[in-house]
Protein backbone atom coordinates (compact mmCIF):
# COMPACT_ATOMS: atom_id res chain seq x y z
CA UNK A 1 0.00 0.00 0.00
CA UNK A 2 1.24 3.43 -0.94
CA UNK A 3 2.03 5.71 2.01
CA UNK A 4 1.28 9.34 1.36
CA UNK A 5 4.05 11.77 2.46
CA UNK A 6 3.63 14.93 4.54
CA UNK A 7 4.57 17.04 1.50
CA UNK A 8 1.89 15.36 -0.54
CA UNK A 9 -0.65 16.05 2.22
CA UNK A 10 0.41 19.72 2.13
CA UNK A 11 -0.04 19.76 -1.62
CA UNK A 12 -3.56 18.26 -1.31
CA UNK A 13 -4.55 20.74 1.42
CA UNK A 14 -3.33 23.69 -0.69
CA UNK A 15 -5.01 22.47 -3.84
CA UNK A 16 -8.34 21.85 -2.12
CA UNK A 17 -8.21 25.29 -0.51
CA UNK A 18 -7.42 26.86 -3.89
CA UNK A 19 -10.43 25.12 -5.36
CA UNK A 20 -12.66 27.05 -3.00
CA UNK A 21 -13.18 24.71 -0.04
CA UNK A 22 -12.45 26.99 2.90
CA UNK A 23 -14.54 25.55 5.72
CA UNK A 24 -12.10 23.63 7.89
CA UNK A 25 -14.44 20.74 8.71
CA UNK A 26 -15.31 20.12 5.06
CA UNK A 27 -11.68 20.42 4.01
CA UNK A 28 -10.44 17.98 6.66
CA UNK A 29 -12.93 15.39 5.46
CA UNK A 30 -12.00 15.77 1.82
CA UNK A 31 -8.24 15.67 2.50
CA UNK A 32 -8.50 12.48 4.55
CA UNK A 33 -10.83 10.90 2.00
CA UNK A 34 -8.56 11.73 -0.92
CA UNK A 35 -5.56 10.36 1.00
CA UNK A 36 -7.45 7.15 1.77
CA UNK A 37 -8.40 6.67 -1.86
CA UNK A 38 -4.86 7.29 -3.08
CA UNK A 39 -3.34 5.02 -0.45
CA UNK A 40 -5.78 2.21 -1.16
CA UNK A 41 -6.30 2.50 -4.86
CA UNK A 42 -3.07 3.88 -6.39
CA UNK A 43 -1.44 1.32 -8.62
CA UNK A 44 2.20 0.47 -8.24
CA UNK A 45 4.42 2.86 -10.18
CA UNK A 46 1.55 5.29 -10.88
CA UNK A 47 2.36 8.99 -10.66
CA UNK A 48 0.98 10.64 -7.49
CA UNK A 49 -0.19 13.81 -9.24
CA UNK A 50 -1.97 11.89 -11.97
CA UNK A 51 -3.67 9.72 -9.39
CA UNK A 52 -4.63 12.78 -7.36
CA UNK A 53 -6.09 14.43 -10.47
CA UNK A 54 -8.26 11.42 -11.18
CA UNK A 55 -9.31 11.08 -7.56
CA UNK A 56 -10.31 14.67 -6.94
CA UNK A 57 -12.40 14.65 -10.13
CA UNK A 58 -14.71 12.09 -8.49
CA UNK A 59 -15.74 14.62 -5.86
CA UNK A 60 -17.63 17.07 -8.07
CA UNK A 61 -19.44 17.71 -11.31
CA UNK A 62 -18.13 21.17 -12.23
CA UNK A 63 -15.99 22.34 -9.34
CA UNK A 64 -15.00 21.14 -5.92
CA UNK A 65 -16.66 23.96 -4.02
CA UNK A 66 -20.02 22.34 -4.84
CA UNK A 67 -19.49 20.18 -1.74
CA UNK A 68 -19.08 23.22 0.44
CA UNK A 69 -22.09 24.94 -1.11
CA UNK A 70 -24.24 21.86 -0.69
CA UNK A 71 -23.13 21.47 2.93
CA UNK A 72 -24.09 25.06 3.61
CA UNK A 73 -27.46 24.59 1.88
CA UNK A 74 -28.19 21.49 3.93
CA UNK A 75 -27.21 23.23 7.14
CA UNK A 76 -29.32 26.31 6.45
CA UNK A 77 -32.21 24.10 5.45
CA UNK A 78 -32.35 22.99 9.04
CA UNK A 79 -33.31 26.53 10.00
CA UNK A 80 -35.68 26.87 7.06
CA UNK A 81 -38.86 26.17 9.00
CA UNK A 82 -37.77 28.25 11.98
CA UNK A 83 -37.05 31.12 9.60
CA UNK A 84 -40.40 30.73 7.86
CA UNK A 85 -42.18 30.81 11.22
CA UNK A 86 -40.23 33.89 12.31
CA UNK A 87 -41.03 35.47 8.95
CA UNK A 88 -44.75 34.97 9.45
CA UNK A 89 -44.72 36.21 13.05
CA UNK A 90 -42.55 39.28 12.42
CA UNK A 91 -44.53 40.07 9.26
CA UNK A 92 -47.83 40.05 11.14
CA UNK A 93 -46.41 41.92 14.12
CA UNK A 94 -44.72 44.62 12.08
CA UNK A 95 -47.82 45.15 9.93
CA UNK A 96 -50.00 45.43 13.06
CA UNK A 97 -47.56 47.77 14.84
CA UNK A 98 -47.20 50.04 11.80
CA UNK A 99 -50.98 50.32 11.25
CA UNK A 100 -51.66 50.88 14.97
CA UNK A 101 -48.74 53.32 15.23
CA UNK A 102 -50.12 55.29 12.29
CA UNK A 103 -53.58 55.37 13.88
CA UNK A 104 -52.18 56.44 17.29
CA UNK A 105 -50.13 59.17 15.63
CA UNK A 106 -53.18 60.47 13.75
CA UNK A 107 -55.18 60.55 16.98
CA UNK A 108 -52.24 61.95 18.99
CA UNK A 109 -52.55 59.08 21.45
CA UNK A 110 -49.54 58.16 23.59
CA UNK A 111 -47.47 55.18 22.45
CA UNK A 112 -47.52 56.05 18.74
CA UNK A 113 -43.74 56.51 18.64
CA UNK A 114 -42.88 53.18 20.24
CA UNK A 115 -45.41 51.32 18.04
CA UNK A 116 -44.10 52.85 14.84
CA UNK A 117 -40.51 52.42 15.94
CA UNK A 118 -40.84 48.71 16.76
CA UNK A 119 -43.03 48.04 13.72
CA UNK A 120 -40.64 49.68 11.26
CA UNK A 121 -37.53 48.16 12.87
CA UNK A 122 -39.08 44.66 12.85
CA UNK A 123 -40.12 45.13 9.25
CA UNK A 124 -36.87 46.52 7.90
CA UNK A 125 -34.31 44.65 9.99
CA UNK A 126 -35.98 41.25 10.52
CA UNK A 127 -38.85 40.63 8.12
CA UNK A 128 -37.26 41.91 4.89
CA UNK A 129 -33.76 40.42 5.53
CA UNK A 130 -35.37 37.03 6.29
CA UNK A 131 -37.24 37.35 3.02
CA UNK A 132 -33.93 37.93 1.23
CA UNK A 133 -32.37 34.80 2.77
CA UNK A 134 -35.35 32.56 2.03
CA UNK A 135 -35.93 33.82 -1.50
CA UNK A 136 -32.20 33.58 -2.19
CA UNK A 137 -32.33 29.88 -1.42
CA UNK A 138 -35.53 29.33 -3.35
CA UNK A 139 -34.41 30.99 -6.56
CA UNK A 140 -31.16 29.63 -7.90
CA UNK A 141 -31.07 31.89 -10.96
CA UNK A 142 -28.45 34.65 -10.58
CA UNK A 143 -30.48 37.25 -12.50
CA UNK A 144 -33.53 36.81 -10.28
CA UNK A 145 -31.42 36.90 -7.14
CA UNK A 146 -29.90 40.25 -8.14
CA UNK A 147 -33.30 41.78 -8.88
CA UNK A 148 -34.68 40.44 -5.63
CA UNK A 149 -31.77 41.77 -3.56
CA UNK A 150 -31.92 45.26 -5.10
CA UNK A 151 -35.67 45.35 -4.50
CA UNK A 152 -35.47 44.26 -0.87
CA UNK A 153 -32.48 46.49 -0.07
CA UNK A 154 -34.30 49.57 -1.36
CA UNK A 155 -37.28 48.48 0.74
CA UNK A 156 -35.08 48.26 3.86
CA UNK A 157 -33.50 51.67 3.28
CA UNK A 158 -36.85 53.24 2.34
CA UNK A 159 -38.47 51.88 5.50
CA UNK A 160 -35.60 53.18 7.63
CA UNK A 161 -36.08 56.54 5.87
CA UNK A 162 -39.75 56.54 6.92
CA UNK A 163 -38.71 55.64 10.48
CA UNK A 164 -36.14 58.45 10.60
CA UNK A 165 -38.70 60.88 9.20
CA UNK A 166 -41.35 59.90 11.73
CA UNK A 167 -38.85 60.11 14.61
CA UNK A 168 -37.48 63.43 13.23
CA UNK A 169 -33.94 62.01 13.04
CA UNK A 170 -31.33 63.47 10.70
CA UNK A 171 -30.60 61.93 7.27
CA UNK A 172 -34.22 60.82 6.86
CA UNK A 173 -34.60 62.52 3.49
CA UNK A 174 -31.36 61.08 2.11
CA UNK A 175 -32.44 57.55 3.09
CA UNK A 176 -35.99 57.93 1.84
CA UNK A 177 -35.43 59.78 -1.41
CA UNK A 178 -32.22 57.81 -2.09
CA UNK A 179 -34.06 54.51 -1.93
CA UNK A 180 -36.98 55.93 -3.90
CA UNK A 181 -34.71 57.09 -6.72
CA UNK A 182 -32.82 53.76 -6.70
CA UNK A 183 -36.10 51.89 -6.86
CA UNK A 184 -37.37 54.02 -9.72
CA UNK A 185 -34.20 54.35 -11.79
CA UNK A 186 -32.47 51.03 -11.06
CA UNK A 187 -34.90 48.41 -9.84
CA UNK A 188 -37.85 49.04 -12.18
CA UNK A 189 -35.76 49.15 -15.42
CA UNK A 190 -33.77 46.02 -14.49
CA UNK A 191 -36.96 44.23 -13.47
CA UNK A 192 -38.72 45.20 -16.68
CA UNK A 193 -35.97 44.39 -19.16
CA UNK A 194 -35.00 41.06 -17.63
CA UNK A 195 -38.60 39.85 -17.38
CA UNK A 196 -39.72 41.32 -20.68
CA UNK A 197 -37.20 39.26 -22.66
CA UNK A 198 -38.64 36.00 -21.40
CA UNK A 199 -41.92 35.17 -23.16
CA UNK A 200 -43.19 33.39 -20.03
CA UNK A 201 -42.89 36.50 -17.87
CA UNK A 202 -43.44 39.15 -20.56
CA UNK A 203 -47.09 39.85 -19.79
CA UNK A 204 -46.58 40.01 -16.02
CA UNK A 205 -43.54 42.24 -16.55
CA UNK A 206 -45.71 44.81 -18.32
CA UNK A 207 -48.46 44.68 -15.68
CA UNK A 208 -46.09 44.82 -12.68
CA UNK A 209 -43.96 47.58 -14.16
CA UNK A 210 -47.05 49.65 -14.92
CA UNK A 211 -48.20 49.27 -11.33
CA UNK A 212 -44.80 50.24 -9.95
CA UNK A 213 -44.33 53.24 -12.25
CA UNK A 214 -47.86 54.47 -11.51
CA UNK A 215 -47.29 53.96 -7.77
CA UNK A 216 -44.03 55.90 -7.89
CA UNK A 217 -45.70 58.68 -9.89
CA UNK A 218 -48.46 59.01 -7.30
CA UNK A 219 -45.89 59.06 -4.46
CA UNK A 220 -43.95 61.77 -6.31
CA UNK A 221 -47.15 63.80 -6.55
CA UNK A 222 -47.71 63.38 -2.81
CA UNK A 223 -44.15 64.55 -2.05
CA UNK A 224 -44.81 67.85 -3.76
CA UNK A 225 -48.02 68.35 -1.81
CA UNK A 226 -47.53 70.42 1.30
CA UNK A 227 -50.27 72.55 2.76
CA UNK A 228 -52.95 73.56 0.27
CA UNK A 229 -52.25 76.67 -1.78
CA UNK A 230 -55.18 78.49 -0.15
CA UNK A 231 -53.72 78.03 3.31
CA UNK A 232 -50.27 79.10 2.12
CA UNK A 233 -51.78 82.19 0.47
CA UNK A 234 -53.76 83.15 3.57
CA UNK A 235 -50.70 82.76 5.81
CA UNK A 236 -48.66 84.84 3.38
CA UNK A 237 -51.37 87.55 3.33
CA UNK A 238 -51.42 87.61 7.13
CA UNK A 239 -47.67 88.16 7.05
CA UNK A 240 -47.67 90.90 4.43
CA UNK A 241 -50.51 92.62 6.31
CA UNK A 242 -48.51 92.64 9.52
CA UNK A 243 -45.30 93.52 7.66
CA UNK A 244 -47.10 96.52 6.20
CA UNK A 245 -48.23 97.55 9.70
CA UNK A 246 -44.66 97.49 10.85
CA UNK A 247 -43.53 99.58 7.87
CA UNK A 248 -46.34 102.10 8.41
CA UNK A 249 -45.48 102.40 12.08
CA UNK A 250 -41.81 102.89 11.26
CA UNK A 251 -42.65 105.67 8.79
CA UNK A 252 -44.98 107.34 11.31
CA UNK A 253 -42.25 107.17 13.89
CA UNK A 254 -39.73 108.69 11.48
CA UNK A 255 -42.11 111.61 10.96
CA UNK A 256 -42.52 112.00 14.71
CA UNK A 257 -38.75 111.95 15.24
CA UNK A 258 -38.37 114.65 12.61
CA UNK A 259 -41.01 116.80 14.29
CA UNK A 260 -39.21 116.46 17.58
CA UNK A 261 -35.71 116.75 16.17
CA UNK A 262 -35.01 119.89 18.10
CA UNK A 263 -35.75 118.08 21.31
CA UNK A 264 -32.57 116.44 22.47
CA UNK A 265 -34.10 114.04 24.90
CA UNK A 266 -32.03 111.20 26.28
CA UNK A 267 -35.04 108.94 26.71
CA UNK A 268 -36.23 109.43 23.13
CA UNK A 269 -32.78 108.71 21.77
CA UNK A 270 -32.42 105.66 23.93
CA UNK A 271 -35.77 104.27 22.80
CA UNK A 272 -34.85 104.96 19.20
CA UNK A 273 -31.56 103.11 19.51
CA UNK A 274 -32.86 100.05 21.41
CA UNK A 275 -35.77 99.72 18.97
CA UNK A 276 -33.50 99.98 15.96
CA UNK A 277 -31.08 97.49 17.47
CA UNK A 278 -33.71 94.81 18.10
CA UNK A 279 -35.38 95.54 14.76
CA UNK A 280 -32.08 95.03 12.94
CA UNK A 281 -31.49 91.75 14.73
CA UNK A 282 -34.96 90.53 13.79
CA UNK A 283 -34.42 91.49 10.14
CA UNK A 284 -31.07 89.65 10.13
CA UNK A 285 -32.66 86.51 11.61
CA UNK A 286 -35.49 86.59 9.06
CA UNK A 287 -33.06 86.96 6.16
CA UNK A 288 -30.86 84.17 7.52
CA UNK A 289 -33.78 81.75 7.87
CA UNK A 290 -35.21 82.52 4.41
CA UNK A 291 -31.75 82.23 2.87
CA UNK A 292 -31.07 78.85 4.50
CA UNK A 293 -34.52 77.46 3.81
CA UNK A 294 -34.62 78.49 0.15
CA UNK A 295 -30.91 77.86 -0.40
CA UNK A 296 -30.21 81.37 -1.71
CA UNK A 297 -27.70 84.06 -0.77
CA UNK A 298 -28.53 86.59 1.95
CA UNK A 299 -28.66 89.37 -0.66
CA UNK A 300 -31.38 87.51 -2.53
CA UNK A 301 -33.13 86.47 0.70
CA UNK A 302 -33.35 90.15 1.73
CA UNK A 303 -35.71 90.75 -1.17
CA UNK A 304 -37.95 87.77 -0.32
CA UNK A 305 -40.87 87.40 2.09
CA UNK A 306 -42.61 84.39 3.58
CA UNK A 307 -44.77 84.26 0.43
CA UNK A 308 -41.64 83.25 -1.49
CA UNK A 309 -40.71 80.29 0.72
CA UNK A 310 -40.20 77.04 -1.17
CA UNK A 311 -41.13 74.95 1.85
CA UNK A 312 -43.51 76.75 4.16
CA UNK A 313 -43.37 73.83 6.62
CA UNK A 314 -39.59 73.74 6.90
CA UNK A 315 -38.92 72.75 10.51
CA UNK A 316 -35.33 71.61 9.93
CA UNK A 317 -34.14 75.14 9.22
CA UNK A 318 -35.54 76.35 12.56
CA UNK A 319 -34.02 73.42 14.42
CA UNK A 320 -30.65 73.73 12.74
CA UNK A 321 -30.12 77.48 12.33
CA UNK A 322 -32.29 78.99 15.05
CA UNK A 323 -32.88 76.61 17.97
CA UNK A 324 -29.58 74.70 17.84
CA UNK A 325 -27.38 77.15 15.99
CA UNK A 326 -25.13 79.39 18.02
CA UNK A 327 -24.03 82.92 17.21
CA UNK A 328 -25.78 86.22 16.68
CA UNK A 329 -28.74 84.79 14.79
CA UNK A 330 -29.70 82.03 17.20
CA UNK A 331 -32.70 81.89 19.48
CA UNK A 332 -30.47 82.21 22.56
CA UNK A 333 -28.90 85.39 21.24
CA UNK A 334 -32.33 86.72 20.25
CA UNK A 335 -33.69 85.95 23.70
CA UNK A 336 -30.79 87.91 25.27
CA UNK A 337 -31.46 90.83 22.93
CA UNK A 338 -35.15 90.86 23.90
CA UNK A 339 -34.25 90.73 27.61
CA UNK A 340 -31.88 93.69 27.12
CA UNK A 341 -34.62 95.58 25.24
CA UNK A 342 -37.12 94.93 28.04
CA UNK A 343 -34.65 96.09 30.70
CA UNK A 344 -33.87 99.28 28.79
CA UNK A 345 -37.56 99.87 28.16
CA UNK A 346 -38.31 99.66 31.87
CA UNK A 347 -35.89 102.47 32.73
CA UNK A 348 -37.16 104.88 30.11
CA UNK A 349 -38.73 107.75 31.96
CA UNK A 350 -42.45 107.96 31.47
CA UNK A 351 -42.47 104.71 29.65
CA UNK A 352 -44.59 102.84 32.17
CA UNK A 353 -47.30 102.15 29.61
CA UNK A 354 -44.84 100.59 27.18
CA UNK A 355 -45.23 96.82 26.66
CA UNK A 356 -42.20 94.59 27.17
CA UNK A 357 -41.86 91.71 24.72
CA UNK A 358 -43.10 88.59 26.57
CA UNK A 359 -41.10 85.86 24.82
CA UNK A 360 -42.17 83.32 27.43
CA UNK A 361 -45.66 83.31 25.98
CA UNK A 362 -44.40 82.65 22.46
CA UNK A 363 -43.28 79.30 21.14
CA UNK A 364 -40.51 80.04 18.69
CA UNK A 365 -38.72 76.69 18.66
CA UNK A 366 -39.91 73.19 17.63
CA UNK A 367 -42.01 74.77 14.89
CA UNK A 368 -41.89 75.65 11.22
CA UNK A 369 -40.33 78.62 9.45
CA UNK A 370 -43.65 80.31 8.57
CA UNK A 371 -44.63 80.52 12.23
CA UNK A 372 -41.26 81.91 13.34
CA UNK A 373 -41.21 84.52 10.57
CA UNK A 374 -44.70 85.64 11.56
CA UNK A 375 -43.79 85.81 15.25
CA UNK A 376 -40.77 87.95 14.39
CA UNK A 377 -42.93 90.40 12.43
CA UNK A 378 -45.35 90.52 15.36
CA UNK A 379 -42.48 91.50 17.64
CA UNK A 380 -41.35 94.15 15.15
CA UNK A 381 -44.88 95.60 15.19
CA UNK A 382 -44.89 95.55 18.97
CA UNK A 383 -41.59 97.40 19.39
CA UNK A 384 -42.51 99.94 16.68
CA UNK A 385 -45.82 100.39 18.41
CA UNK A 386 -44.06 101.00 21.75
CA UNK A 387 -41.91 103.59 20.03
CA UNK A 388 -45.00 105.14 18.49
CA UNK A 389 -46.93 105.43 21.74
CA UNK A 390 -43.97 106.97 23.55
CA UNK A 391 -43.35 109.48 20.78
CA UNK A 392 -47.05 110.36 20.59
CA UNK A 393 -47.14 110.78 24.33
CA UNK A 394 -44.13 113.09 24.28
CA UNK A 395 -45.54 115.02 21.37
CA UNK A 396 -48.81 115.55 23.25
CA UNK A 397 -46.90 116.73 26.30
CA UNK A 398 -44.94 119.16 24.16
CA UNK A 399 -48.14 120.54 22.63
CA UNK A 400 -49.66 121.04 26.07
CA UNK A 401 -46.63 122.92 27.19
Amino acid sequence: MYKISENEVDFIINDITKRGVVTEDVRDNIVDHVCCIIENEMKMGEDFFKCYGNTIARFFRKELREIEDETRDLLTFKYYYAMKRTLKITGLMSAAFIVLGGLFKLQHWPGAGILLFSGLILFSLVFVPLNIILKYQDDKEKKNRIIMIIGFLTTIIGTLGVLFKVMHWPMANILFYGSFITFFLVFIPIYFFTRFKDPATKFNAIIHTTFMVAGCGMLLMLFSMGVSQNINDSVASMDSFQEQNAINLEQNNETLYEQMSNLDNENINKLRSITAELDEKIEAIKINLISKSNGVSKEVAATLTSADLKNTLDADVIEQYFTQGGGELSYTSFNDAVTAYNQNLAVIKGGASLMPVQLDNLQMTRTVITVVLHELVDIQVQIRSNENSYLSLRKGMLANN
Binding site: V26, D32, H33, C36, F59, E66, K78
Partner: protein, 119 residues
Protein backbone atom coordinates in the same frame (compact mmCIF):
# COMPACT_ATOMS: atom_id res chain seq x y z
CA UNK B 1 -23.21 14.39 -7.53
CA UNK B 2 -25.57 11.87 -6.01
CA UNK B 3 -25.32 8.43 -4.86
CA UNK B 4 -25.03 5.58 -7.15
CA UNK B 5 -24.24 4.07 -10.45
CA UNK B 6 -26.98 1.49 -10.65
CA UNK B 7 -30.02 3.29 -9.34
CA UNK B 8 -31.30 6.70 -10.41
CA UNK B 9 -30.26 9.47 -8.09
CA UNK B 10 -33.90 10.56 -7.54
CA UNK B 11 -34.65 7.12 -6.19
CA UNK B 12 -31.93 7.12 -3.58
CA UNK B 13 -31.66 10.83 -2.73
CA UNK B 14 -33.94 10.55 0.28
CA UNK B 15 -32.35 7.42 1.73
CA UNK B 16 -28.75 8.52 2.16
CA UNK B 17 -29.24 9.70 5.73
CA UNK B 18 -30.92 6.44 6.61
CA UNK B 19 -28.11 4.41 5.04
CA UNK B 20 -25.41 6.35 6.89
CA UNK B 21 -27.21 6.32 10.24
CA UNK B 22 -27.90 2.60 9.98
CA UNK B 23 -24.27 1.84 9.23
CA UNK B 24 -23.20 3.85 12.25
CA UNK B 25 -25.67 1.92 14.38
CA UNK B 26 -23.93 -1.32 13.50
CA UNK B 27 -20.40 0.06 13.77
CA UNK B 28 -19.10 2.03 16.75
CA UNK B 29 -17.43 4.73 14.75
CA UNK B 30 -16.67 5.22 11.08
CA UNK B 31 -14.94 7.79 8.91
CA UNK B 32 -16.05 8.95 5.47
CA UNK B 33 -13.97 6.74 3.24
CA UNK B 34 -14.85 3.73 5.40
CA UNK B 35 -18.56 4.47 4.98
CA UNK B 36 -18.34 4.59 1.18
CA UNK B 37 -16.33 1.39 1.08
CA UNK B 38 -18.72 -0.40 3.45
CA UNK B 39 -21.76 0.53 1.39
CA UNK B 40 -20.01 -0.54 -1.78
CA UNK B 41 -19.09 -3.86 -0.19
CA UNK B 42 -22.50 -4.54 1.35
CA UNK B 43 -24.39 -3.78 -1.84
CA UNK B 44 -21.99 -5.51 -4.16
CA UNK B 45 -21.18 -2.12 -5.74
CA UNK B 46 -24.80 -1.55 -6.61
CA UNK B 47 -24.88 1.54 -4.45
CA UNK B 48 -21.78 3.69 -4.47
CA UNK B 49 -22.03 6.78 -2.34
CA UNK B 50 -20.19 9.66 -3.94
CA UNK B 51 -18.08 11.92 -1.78
CA UNK B 52 -19.99 14.96 -3.00
CA UNK B 53 -23.17 13.61 -1.44
CA UNK B 54 -21.70 11.98 1.66
CA UNK B 55 -20.00 14.91 3.35
CA UNK B 56 -22.84 17.44 3.14
CA UNK B 57 -25.07 14.72 4.66
CA UNK B 58 -22.59 13.96 7.46
CA UNK B 59 -22.31 17.66 8.30
CA UNK B 60 -26.08 18.00 8.36
CA UNK B 61 -26.41 14.97 10.67
CA UNK B 62 -23.76 16.45 12.94
CA UNK B 63 -25.59 19.78 13.12
CA UNK B 64 -28.87 18.03 13.84
CA UNK B 65 -27.23 16.22 16.73
CA UNK B 66 -27.71 12.69 15.35
CA UNK B 67 -23.96 12.06 15.21
CA UNK B 68 -20.92 13.40 17.03
CA UNK B 69 -17.39 13.66 15.76
CA UNK B 70 -14.14 12.37 17.14
CA UNK B 71 -11.04 13.81 15.52
CA UNK B 72 -7.90 11.76 15.16
CA UNK B 73 -4.71 13.39 13.86
CA UNK B 74 -2.68 11.33 11.43
CA UNK B 75 0.34 13.54 10.74
CA UNK B 76 -1.06 16.60 9.06
CA UNK B 77 -4.27 14.83 8.20
CA UNK B 78 -7.33 15.03 10.39
CA UNK B 79 -9.58 12.01 10.33
CA UNK B 80 -13.10 12.57 11.56
CA UNK B 81 -14.82 9.55 13.04
CA UNK B 82 -18.60 9.75 13.18
CA UNK B 83 -20.40 8.23 16.17
CA UNK B 84 -24.16 7.83 16.62
CA UNK B 85 -25.61 9.84 19.53
CA UNK B 86 -28.57 8.79 21.70
CA UNK B 87 -30.75 11.05 19.60
CA UNK B 88 -29.27 9.43 16.49
CA UNK B 89 -30.31 5.97 17.78
CA UNK B 90 -33.93 7.15 17.93
CA UNK B 91 -33.65 8.86 14.56
CA UNK B 92 -32.26 5.76 12.88
CA UNK B 93 -35.11 3.62 14.28
CA UNK B 94 -37.68 6.15 13.04
CA UNK B 95 -36.04 6.44 9.65
CA UNK B 96 -35.73 2.68 9.13
CA UNK B 97 -39.36 2.17 10.17
CA UNK B 98 -40.48 4.91 7.86
CA UNK B 99 -38.51 3.52 4.94
CA UNK B 100 -39.70 0.00 5.58
CA UNK B 101 -43.29 1.19 5.70
CA UNK B 102 -42.73 3.20 2.54
CA UNK B 103 -41.32 0.13 0.79
CA UNK B 104 -44.36 -1.90 1.81
CA UNK B 105 -46.64 0.79 0.44
CA UNK B 106 -44.70 0.98 -2.80
CA UNK B 107 -44.77 -2.78 -3.09
CA UNK B 108 -48.53 -2.68 -2.70
CA UNK B 109 -48.96 0.36 -4.92
CA UNK B 110 -46.92 -1.09 -7.75
CA UNK B 111 -48.47 -4.51 -7.24
CA UNK B 112 -45.05 -6.10 -6.94
CA UNK B 113 -46.11 -9.03 -4.74
CA UNK B 114 -48.66 -10.35 -7.22
CA UNK B 115 -46.32 -9.91 -10.14
CA UNK B 116 -43.71 -11.88 -8.22
CA UNK B 117 -46.30 -14.56 -7.52
CA UNK B 118 -47.36 -14.62 -11.15
CA UNK B 119 -43.89 -15.38 -12.37
Amino acid sequence: MYICVMYSSELIKGTLKTIVLNLLKDNDKMYGYEITQKVKELTDSKIQITEGALYPTLHALEKQGDVTVEKVYIGKRVRKYYILTDQGVTTVADRVNELSDFMKTMRFLLDLDSSVQNV
